[in-house]
Amino acid sequence: MLIGLSLVPAGAIVGLLLILVWISFRFEGDGGISYGIHAYNLLYADPFVARTLLNTALFSLVTVATALFFGVPAAWLVERTDLPFKELPFTLMTMGLLIPGFLSAMGWVFLLHPRIGLFNVALGSVAGPSWRLNIATPVGMGFVEGLALAPLAFIMVAATFRSTNPELEEAASVHGMSLLRSLLQVTLPLIFPGILAAGIYILTIGIAAFEVPAVIGLSNRVFTFSTFLYLQVNPPQGLPRYDLAAAFGVLMTAIAGLLSWWYYHVLRQGHRYAVVTGRAYRPKLIELGRGGLLFAWGFLGCYFLLGQVLPLLTLVWSSLLRYFQLPSASAFAQASLSNYKALPWPYLLSGLWNTAILMLVVPTLVLLLSLAIAWVVVRSGAPGRFVLDGIAFLPHAVPNIIFALSAAYASLFLLPAFLPIYGTVFLLLAIYALVRISFGTRVLNSALAQIHRELEEAGQVMGIPLLRRIGRILLPLLRPALVNAWLWMALLTYRELTIASLLVTPSNVTLPMVIWGLWLNGTFSQAAAGATTGLLLMLPLVFVYWFLSRRAALGVWQT
């Protein structure tokens, strides 16, 4: 039964990818339908495609560089030095991952407004009026995306620090190496695989990134992979070119597949230095001293200022004004809630309603399906279980917008006769859930592996049937992991824009799509008001997550 349940999402994932390949070879011209490599030839010949590829590469490399630049030193400070109040950067970083990237991107557009952007005014007054930073470039967008992903680099590298035997570093200092030398010659090589893995992981995300390029690049005609796909399906004039989009998608899937393979191998290499013993070992922490401490807080503060505080404050500020201007006495006098009053409330509320439904159903569905898959993979010993695990991982490796593309095509042209779900919230629900399967199964695979199989076998031998074993033994034991993953996915669902961009119609609009729609229309102040509303609604949810995940972490069973 569990095997059957696990095959449903696996079949859907494989099905959508096969449809993608099929679309890419399908050509619908005046002379009817033909199959061939027509779309690939077009891609190959088009200089715009080459530009997009170059943009994507530049964008994602800057993303990785920025994320590592902030994330790695922060991880080192938290894991290996005597920095006080370590929970603070930890909490802020985790929460930082939840801040929707398109919101900070909007903030950054205001900050780097060519004429009145805060940064550009400051730069102009220092370096002369001809100096202007332009955010609407691959480098600028990469910087914003990198700031948004620095928490991920931080969390991954911190985990590497924690699992790397600190005795190896202590041996260096005992044998007379200075701090700097031991950092460069022992610590860095030891955690290099971890940093590399984090880098590749972020590169994969950067290549597929949609939100930041969609907010900053789309209106300035600077395209990366995901926005190019969006453009092909929603062209300003002419018919959608699904075949071109799909062919480009196939190409990017191949690249993403290679990156995932590389990531997997680096990760395996990295385990060579892992601490084997499970004992609670507290490494000797490096003393920062007064100057070091100042520098450390300065560094962390700088990140939080750039990554979260400044763009979000700018967003809130601009939502109070009819048009953007620098904070001043006259600007304060003009501040009002008029933008909020002008918001298309019925539309926004319907988006909110759909988003709420998705937030409740998607995590539940993902966990149900992921539990079935993880159980088959970890426990059943069924043949082909590793193939199943690989398929469940695909939504991570393959850019999410590709699933949206495939699903849009399938629900528009293949399914309507017997499953008319295009334009309904069910389509969003299915695809949102499908792309989160990789996250759900990663969480449940490791949670299940930590529960000794004899705990289940004891119930089995003593006569408790399968469903009751799951309900009475497995679920209570998995509860901390389930609660944590559920909340996390609910919050990610709240901010989901990538998939929605291709699947949302006026009848199944979501909150992020309402905000982004206002932005694309050029009503920036209203978009800022919508974004601020979204942000304010999100805050209590983030707080609930923070509160519950702390409690859940305390409840992890020691088995």
Binding site: A458, Q460, V461, M462, G463, I464, L466, R468, I473
Partner: protein, 384 residues
């Protein structure tokens, strides 16, 4: 009664298929305490898990009581939850989200045969009192010590009134002193309940203390089944002999009825041994007599004591007969023997195994280093 016939099981690994069980036949009588003994990888746990239904054999038949629960030919497989067994796991498998009471009660409330609330309460408390845990009934499981968890696991397995009780190395996670205590407790309890027990261990002392009968296993086969005394005194296989303490091994050739030529000279052995040609003789260190024996006794040799090691209640000697080293063990207070002493190898204590040329002496037949002998001797006192 538990009956196994021709049970085989192999596991697929990266290097191909590995046979974990080869054609196992076994009959365990009702009420018997039966131990599977063997080193790791001998297949003893796999065999137990096949009886439990946690592994599915490739072929053979398994009967529990009057019921066939597995038949390779008949394509019958009764899943574990329908076999009516109790089991104590190596990790105890105490459910950490429940109390002591909840752990014992869960199989009774969620299992195949669900009982009424009052019946459950009565059963649980009775089972807990059997293991002396009734006053801990409301304690959350994570707050239990290892020994307490072990007792709860036992109570849980007994509370379902199982057809048979299966125990998979239940003592291996306890420290040495506790192990001895729990061991005698288990023996006492099980004798009182007259329940059939299958018990897996790699510790020969544990096996000998607990078992009515022992099956010694190696490489997926049963080498010998017998009472502890039979296995110790009349091993049918050198590996069985070796498993129950140290042995001195001598190669030899049969030169007449009950007479074997060896490196140390011609030895008389039990004439009932129907062997000829090359043989391997074994004698335990404690069976070698040093000094003081009557002139007409058999197998007397001039020996030289090379080294004596005092290990508390016993002494271990390395001695030489015609350049061949042998190990002997005496009580510590037996007095200081002469440097040159008469050494006797009583023929009733010598075990004879056919040793065809094809049998390349297994490594254990070489002379053992002193350390190993001393460890064996100490181990038999300390381990329990």
């Amino acid at each position: 009664m538990i009956r196994l016939e021709g049970v085989s099981k192999s596991f697929r690994t990266k290097g191909g298929s590995v046979a974990a069980l080869r054609n196992i036949d076994l009959l365990v009588e009702p009420g018997e305490f039966f131990v599977f003994l063997g080193p790791s990888g001998s297949g003893k746990t796999t065999l137990l898990r096949c009886v439990a239904g946690l592994e599915k054999p490739d072929s053979g038949d398994i009967e529990l009581g009057a019921r066939t629960v597995f038949s390779g030919k008949g394509r019958l497989f009764v899943p574990p939850e329908e076999r009516a067994l109790g089991m104590v796991f190596q990790s105890y498998a105490i459910w950490p989200h429940l109390t002591v009471f909840g752990n014992v009660a869960l199989p009774l409330t969620q299992g195949r045969r669900r009982l009424s609330r009052t019946a459950v309460r009565e059963r649980v408390l009775k089972a807990l009192s059997l293991v002396g845990m009734e006053e801990f009934a409301d304690r959350p499981a994570p707050l239990l010590s290892g020994g307490q968890q072990q007792r709860v696991a036992l109570a849980r397995a007994l509370a379902v009134s199982p057809e048979a009780l299966l125990m998979d190395e239940p003592l291996s996670n306890l420290d040495a002193r506790l192990r001895e205590e729990v061991r005698s407790k288990i023996k006492e309890l099980v004798q009182g309940l007259k329940i059939t027990v299958l018990y897996v261990t790699h510790d020969q002392v544990e096996a000998m203390v607990l078992a009515d009968r022992i099956a010694v296993m190696a490489q997926g086969t049963i080498l010998q089944v017998g009472s502890p005394r039979e296995l110790y005194r009349s091993p049918l296989d050198p590996r069985v002999a070796e498993f129950f303490g140290s042995m001195n091994w001598l190669r030899g050739d049969v030169v007449g009825q009950g007479r074997v030529w060896t490196e140390v000279g011609v030895l008389e052995v039990d004439p009932k041994c129907q062997v000829s040609g090359p043989v391997v003789l074994g004698i335990r260190p404690e069976d070698i007599k040093i000094g003081r024996c009557s002139e007409d006794a058999e197998n007397r040799f001039e020996g030289e004591l090379v080294k004596g090691t005092f290990i508390g209640d016993q002494r271990i000697f390395e001695l030489k007969i015609k350049q061949r080293s042998l190990w002997a063990k005496t009580m510590a207070d037996a007095g200081e023997p002469e440097k040159k002493a008469v050494v006797r190898l009583p023929k009733s204590k010598i075990v004879v195994f056919p040793g065809a040329d094809s049998v390349e002496g297994p490594e254990f037949m070489d002379v053992k280093p002193a350390v190993k002998i001393i460890e064996d001797a100490l181990g038999s006192q300390r381990k329990p």
